[in-house]
């Protein structure tokens, strides 16, 4: 049995094992709530708008966007990096805490992983759709061919990107799915309807719960976790090389890989916080996702926020210290001041200043405040990417090519569409998959509930 002298109980309410199962799978068994239907309607509408925007893009060309011959990347790359960042948290959360044997993660990791999968799916839309000839996207696969053989350019960060994202998606989806197998089995066992039994039975892979299965299950999660831990770091490092390996002032920085990884975890954790607060509120799971969980996330966010602040300062410092006039211009005349100063200061305030409020215990225990701060951080992270992608391109080396960029409805539409896809995915997850890893949560029940365990099981 798990004992924690320092920390309080991880699950409140003196739950029994049976109660845990029924609490958690209640949303699956209960009739669909109205708010869910409404939310689903809205997000499907948003997704549909995104589809229309995508149709326009593919039918008429990238000209339907506002990107141009100076700023060739706009919202789609901002959103790509943003989504990938959010997609970091789930895996980072589960894996790092798993490896560090932080058991409190158990109530949260499932939702976080689900979020990862949907976020990475949203992210993966952008690199494909921003291609001028998406129908030839397969050229990016290094497949043997009769053209000579004509290979892809292994030096290109975009090719690295493609490998990194696809492997990340594969590993995090497997990690998420295999983690759910025991829970699907629980649902299967409790299911009354035939269809439900069949569907969850298929998903459960014939799980019987034997100790050998548990042994292999644990083993697999450590193996996948080990691979995923590397990927968490590599994915965003590689995404950052899209920028870092270029010659564009404001992009060309060795700081980028760690800066991007930390930033990604930052936005991901903030998104986890947002989601957990929603889950607690709508599914009455306060006893599983306790205040202390949120408190722990908040503390991590404060710490990461400090790293972000340091990174921002370092960037500016190096621009000055390096003495390169183009870098100097980008940072001092095009970010701190100039046309895009709003984006820069929004980034600083949202990411480096506002999260510092969470030093206060009062704020950490105020759920509404945490909710707002978590949203602010994600907004701030969006501005960060805007700041990087657009400002550097809009004013780079030759002033003759300087231009301005603001998105069209198509670009906004695609973004809204991915939000819709993400939210509807998360809603489906709420509805049809146990939001909390039942089997894992059971393992962190406090000794205080032992008596109950022996009595009621």
């Amino acid at each position: 049995m798990y004992k924690a002298e320092v920390r309080g109980p991880l699950i409140l309410g003196n739950k029994s094992y049976r109660q845990i199962t029924s609490d958690i799978i209640a949303p699956i068994d209960n009739p669909t709530p109205i708010w869910w239907k409404v939310a689903m309607g809205i997000s499907l509408f948003a997704a549909a708008w995104g589809m229309v925007a995508l149709y326009y893009t593919v039918r008429y060309g990238l000209g339907t966007w506002a990107v141009n011959n100076s700023v060739a990347w706009g919202w789609e790359i901002i959103n790509f990096v943003w989504w990938i960042g959010i997609g970091h948290a789930g895996t980072a959360f589960s894996i790092f805490l798993l490896i560090l044997r932080q058991k409190w993660r158990t109530s949260i990791n499932r939702a976080a992983e689900a979020m990862t999968v949907f976020a990475v799916i949203c992210a993966a839309i952008f690199p494909a759709i921003h291609m001028g000839r998406v129908w030839l996207a397969f050229y990016i696969f290094p497949y043997p061919n009769t053209r000579g053989s004509l290979w892809v350019n292994f030096n290109s960060p975009l090719f690295w990107d493609f490998i990194a994202i696809s492997s990340y998606l594969l590993i995090s989806a497997s990690f998420w799915y295999f983690g759910m197998v025991p829970d699907f089995a629980s649902i299967r066992d409790k299911a009354t309807s035939k269809v439900k039994k069949a569907v969850y039975g298929l998903l459960a892979f014939g799980w019987t719960g034997s100790s050998r299965e548990w042994l292999r299950y644990e083993g697999l999660s450590y193996v996948l976790g080990g691979i995923a831990a590397v990927l968490v770091v590599s994915v965003h490092s590689i995404v950052s090389t899209d920028f870092a390996s270029s010659v564009i002032p404001g992009w060309h920085a060795t700081l980028f890989p760690p800066y991007f990884v930390v930033g990604a975890i930052f936005s991901g954790f903030a998104m986890v916080m947002t989601l957990m607060i929603v889950i607690r509120r709508f599914y009455n799971l306060e006893q599983y996702v306790t205040d202390s969980h949120l408190n722990a996330i908040a503390r991590i966010l404060v710490f990461i926020s400090l790293i972000m602040g340091t990174a921002y300062t370092t960037e500016v410092f190096i621009a000055w210290y390096g003495g390169n006039e183009y870098e100097m211009f980008t940072f001092f005349h095009n970010r701190i001041t100039g046309t895009y100063s709003f984006m820069f200061w929004a980034m600083i305030i949202c990411n480096a200043v506002i999260p510092q409020l969470m030093w206060s215990k009062k704020i950490r225990s105020n759920i509404s405040a945490l909710f707002v701060i978590s949203l602010v951080i994600n907004l701030g992270m969006w501005y960060e990417r805007y700041n990087i992608v657009v400002t550097s391109l809009a004013k780079d080396y030759l002033p003759s090519s300087w231009t301005v960029y603001s998105p069209t409805w198509v670009e906004i539409g695609i973004y809204i569409g991915t939000l819709g896809i993400f939210v509807s995915g998360v809603l489906l997850f709420f509805r049809y998959i146990p939001m909390i890893a039942i089997s894992e949560v059971k393992s962190v029940l406090k000794p205080t509930s032992l008596t109950k365990y022996s009595r009621n099981h």
Binding site: G61, R133, P399
Partner: protein, 993 residues
């Protein structure tokens, strides 16, 4: 076990059944029958189903993947000797649109002219050309604008019908004694003049009225009064050490800019031997191309020009001991100008673009005093361009209104648009018996004419030209007339009752008039063929001299100039746009989309005002202005260098009934350019104007105008350069020192192509931009897309300002792909669509490109262009690539790019390959200078050179060793293959005033 039945013993024992007839039958049956039978025979098992389904799919897949047969190929049974499919033919010809002249070389591929360049055998342009010349080929394929057949009253008809009707009317008019007016812009063709003479013989009341919308009649008038000849002298800028220009944009639009650009550029080159450059003073109101290239530029109101000129005259006259006049005071200090001119006596030149005879008289008197006649001013080979005298036109309009005119025929002339009070002409055209338009394409005048007898396009015509006294060129058809058109000369000959056609009469003229002027060729046929092949015939001219001037004319002029009217608060100045000229090219999408070299605006004209004035009035670029008295509504544009108190507006815009490109773009300002004292005025004092509150979007290709202190265009002064040739280019040495890499560098075993641009010779005229567009099938994208920074040009001319916004120094820098040997674009492409050739070219494989646009981002020069839409065969981009005829202009050697791929300058790789193959076929080495990219070929001043860096003797290798040479952004180690020579201005220290 199934029971086995058998028909014969052979069958039972598994031996072959002998039935020869069956085999034939099988073979004759069609495949489908066989299949049918097979299916019918076989039991319908799953296995069989899959087998046949598989076969059907495979068959369909193979059948559909086969190439469709070509249905419309025509075998060339009788191949003309000189035509090889896939090889271009070049024909020397002549370009003359009534205003600009060029001797040209037309490239014809598979029977269609696709490119026009300057004729290098002509002493007029030495192979250079202008944007308008480069763009002229597109007007041949303007199927929306061109007339397709003769028309009577708007209905198509036949030429026989036309001849019958017009002949009848002409006879009637001639009988009534009323005038038959042939209204034309300047005619420089001797043979056409003969045809007109023949016509006049038949109809004696015929009168030729020459109307040039942008006339230089004041220069002719001045020489009439001073020297007794109404001529325009030839201006030899190449002999001038000091040039002073009063509003004459001789590098852009004035008289003969292609020729003058070359001449002036030769005086701006610096070599080992030639360590001096000329000095250019410009006094003007609008920032012109010439003003932008000036060493000293002064911005004054048009009304103040008289005082400046007169003061300069007085300075020169005082130093020369000549007669001085009382001159109004001027804020401009003319002393420095006068000192410079006096120091370069006989090697200086004062030019004046103001259409006022008094000022022209004073200007040319200055030239006379400086002894410039005979050195920089040439009265021997006088210009035949701009023969129009504005007074003639005024007389014609009065005659027309008075009812003295019975017939008007418009040849290369569109007064319905270009004449200030066009209504006075158009309204009367309905009343007179005969109004004929010879226009090739629809225009404002042809709409009002009952009879339209469309002329051939100049690329379909026979003609000759005498642009200067003693310089003859021929024009030959390069394609059979596309539409049912007829040359004007043929129409006139027909109506004169002549049986000969124009070709015969042209040959006759050359035989009688020109053959005798040479002794090289013994037979006329020889002479004709050689002249036709060369395109030019330039016999020796007799000597001439100018001993004295008629000083009485000077006295009157000086008095008139001295009493010039007091200047108004605001003066409108009308100037000519580099691309569109007088408006006759407005329906040409290439030229319409060419950014103005100074303002960088295309698709519109605008009211340019100085930053100071705009600030004072609270007006920003795009605010719509309204001029109360003139009823003129036009968007404002803040233009550095515009004289304070003046508003500059380009003419040539705001056309109607012309075509999809020109109609409705910009505002027509010809109505405000009325004649004053018999000479068309290019400025107008205005009283009241205000911003009405609307804004209007102007499409510009450059939004930022300062170099931000970056070493982009490196410059120095002549004095500094003479002390140290690397002056202003110190960074180059530093960058070369830091030029170190850990990585393997490219090795170029064969050729290593490089380009060099002399920023001192480049005037910014943009001929290269259109030349490149024509050569490389660059798409036109329209105003909206240009405004979104999506113009497709492969070469652009960056223009920067420095110093005082009221009168800035201007810099031009042509920028194409730099073909970096360490190209940032290459290593980021995930599919290697852009890569490096073993000759140093940065190449694009369009069919490999998937359009990630990463290369565009990572290009520090931002020269890569993305196909945001499908620009060819797309109704949303209804320009030249959207019709079969328009697409005829496409260069078959260059791919038309698909939507979604990146494109950029290729150094005209198709031309490199062509010349390489030619050299190989002839088993010889490539000559330096043999390969000419389109931009280098188009450049009138020879600023762009191209060659092999591996050849130490090549011009480009030598240029790279020049201490003025630098590479753009060389500090970021991209190793560009384009070098720039620093700009050297002939001024002391910073800007002078």
């Amino acid at each position: 076990m199934e029971k086995k039945y058998w028909k014969s013993l052979e069958e039972r024992n598994g031996l072959p059944v002998e039935n020869p007839g069956k085999m034939d039958e099988d073979a004759s049956r069609s495949l489908l029958e066989l299949i049918n039978e097979e299916i019918a025979d076989k039991p319908s098992s799953r296995r069989n189903f899959l087998k046949f389904a598989g076969f059907s799919f495979a068959t369909v897949a193979i059948a559909t993947s086969c190439k469709n047969p070509v249905n419309t190929a025509i075998p060339m049974l009788n191949k003309p000797e000189e035509v090889t499919p896939g090889m271009a033919n070049y024909y020397a010809s002549t370009y003359f649109d009534g205003q600009d002249y060029s001797s040209i070389l037309v490239k014809v591929r598979d029977g269609r002219p696709i490119k026009v360049d300057g004729n290098d055998l002509s002493s007029f342009n030495h192979g250079g050309s202008s944007a308008r010349v480069q763009g002229s080929v597109l007007s041949l394929y303007d199927d929306g604008g061109r007339f397709k057949a003769p028309m009577i009253g708007g209905l198509e008809t036949t030429w026989n019908m036309m001849d019958l009707e017009v002949g009848k009317k002409l006879t009637e008019v001639a009988a009534s004694g009323k005038q038959i007016v042939l209204l034309a812009s300047t005619i420089i063709s001797p043979s056409t003049r003969k045809v007109i003479a023949e016509f006049t013989a038949k109809y004696p009341t015929t009168k030729l009225v020459t109307f040039d919308p942008v006339s230089s009649s004041a220069i002719r008038q001045a020489h009439q009064e001073l020297a007794g000849q109404a001529v325009i002298p030839d201006y030899h800028f190449e002999n001038a050490d000091v040039v002073v220009s009063f509003g004459a944009d001789f590098l852009g639009t004035w008289l003969s800019p292609v020729e003058f650009s070359r001449r002036w550029a030769t005086t701006r080159r610096l070599t080992e031997e030639k360590k001096n450059i000329s000095k250019l003073f410009v006094v003007e109101s609008c920032m012109s191309l010439t003003g932008a290239n000036a060493d000293v530029r002064l911005a004054v109101k048009p009304s103040q020009q008289a005082a400046v000129i007169l003061n300069l005259y007085n300075e020169i006259a005082a130093a020369n001991g000549g007669k001085t006049f009382t001159a109004p005071k001027t804020s401009v200090d003319v002393k420095k100008m006068a000192t410079a001119l006096l120091a370069a006596k006989g090697k200086s030149l004062v030019v004046n673009g103001i259409n006022d005879p008094a000022l022209q008289i004073i200007t040319h008197a200055i030239n006379f005093m400086l002894g410039n006649y005979g050195t920089t001013l040439d009265l021997g080979s006088t210009l035949n361009l701009r023969q129009g005298m504005d007074q003639e036109m005024e007389t014609f309009v009065q005659d027309l209104e008075a009812g003295n005119v019975g017939a008007v025929m418009f040849y290369q002339s569109n007064p319905g648009y270009t004449y200030a009070e066009s209504a006075r002409i158009l309204q009367n055209l309905k009343r007179i018996p005969l109004a004929v338009s010879f226009a090739t394409a629809q225009d404002e005048t042809s709409k009002a004419c009952h009879y339209v007898c469309p002329d051939h396009h100049f690329l379909e015509s026979w003609n000759d030209a005498e642009p200067k006294n003693g310089m003859y060129t021929l024009q030959q058809p390069t394609i059979r007339n596309i539409f049912n058109t007829r040359q004007v000369q043929d129409s006139l000959l027909k109506w004169s009752g002549s049986t000969s056609d124009y070709y015969t009469s042209l040959r006759k003229t050359w035989e009688t008039d020109f053959f005798g002027k040479q002794s090289k060729y013994g037979s006329f046929n020889d002479f004709w063929n050689h002249s036709l092949q060369d395109g030019v015939f330039e016999p020796q001219l007799p000597e001439w001299s100018l001993a004295s001037l008629n000083l009485a004319a000077l006295d009157t002029a000086a008095v008139k100039a001295g009493s010039a009217t007091v200047s108004a608060d605001t003066e409108l100045v009308f100037y000519e746009n580099i691309a569109l000229g007088n408006g006759s090219h407005s329906n040409n999408p290439w030229l319409m989309e060419m950014p103005d070299p100074i303002s960088k605006v295309c698709w519109d004209n605008f009211a340019a005002m100085s930053p100071k004035m705009a600030e004072k009035l609270g007006i920003a670029t795009g605010d719509v202005l309204y001029f109360e008295n003139e009823k003129l509504e036009i968007p404002a544009f803040v233009q550095p260098g515009q004289a304070d108190g003046t508003i500059g507006i380009a003419y040539g815009y705001g056309r109607s009934n012309t075509g999809k490109v020109a109609d409705g773009t910009g505002i027509n300002v010809y109505p405000y350019m009325k004649a004053v004292g018999g000479f068309r005025a290019f400025s107008l004092a205005v009283k009241e104007f205000r911003a009405i509150g609307n804004t209007y979007q102007l499409a510009t290709t450059q939004m930022h105008h300062s170099m931000e202190g970056r070493p982009i265009v490196r410059e120095t002064t002549l004095e500094e350069w003479q002390k140290k040739p690397a002056a202003g280019n110190e960074l180059h040495e530093e960058a070369a020192k830091n030029n170190f890499t850990l990585y393997k560098e490219y090795e170029f075993a064969g050729h290593h192509w490089g380009m060099g641009i002399d920023l001192n010779a480049c005037t910014g005229c943009s001929a290269c931009v259109i030349g490149c567009q024509a050569e490389n099938n660059v798409a036109v994208v329209g105003k909206e897309q240009v405004a979104m920074t999506r113009i497709m040009h492969w070469i652009r001319i960056d223009r920067y300002y420095s110093e005082d916004p009221e009168n800035p120094s201007v810099y031009f820098q042509p920028l194409m792909c730099q073909h970096c040997d360490n190209a940032p674009c290459e290593n980021v492409c995930p599919v290697s669509a852009t890569n490096h050739s073993n000759e140093g070219l940065n190449q694009m494989a369009y069919n490999r490109c998937i359009g990630t646009k990463y290369c565009i981002n990572n290009c520090p020069y931002k020269v890569r262009r993305f196909n945001w839409f499908r620009y060819a065969t797309n109704d949303a981009f209804d320009y030249n690539q959207n019709s079969d005829l328009g697409r005829m202009v496409l260069n078959p050697d260059v791919t038309v790019r698909e939507r979604g791929v990146v494109e950029k300058c290729s150094f005209c790789v198709q031309r490199i390959q062509e010349k390489k193959l030619l050299a190989k076929a002839e088993n010889r080495m490539l000559q330096d200078g043999e390969i000419l990219p389109a931009c280098a070929q188009a450049c009138p001043s020879g600023a762009i050179i191209f060659g092999d860096l591996n050849d130490p003797e090549s011009r480009i290798s030598k240029l790279y060793k020049n201490e003025r040479n630098y590479h753009l952004l060389e500090e970021i180690h991209t190793l560009p293959s384009v070098g720039y020579l620093t700009k050297v201005r002939n001024r002391e220290g910073g800007a002078e005033a």
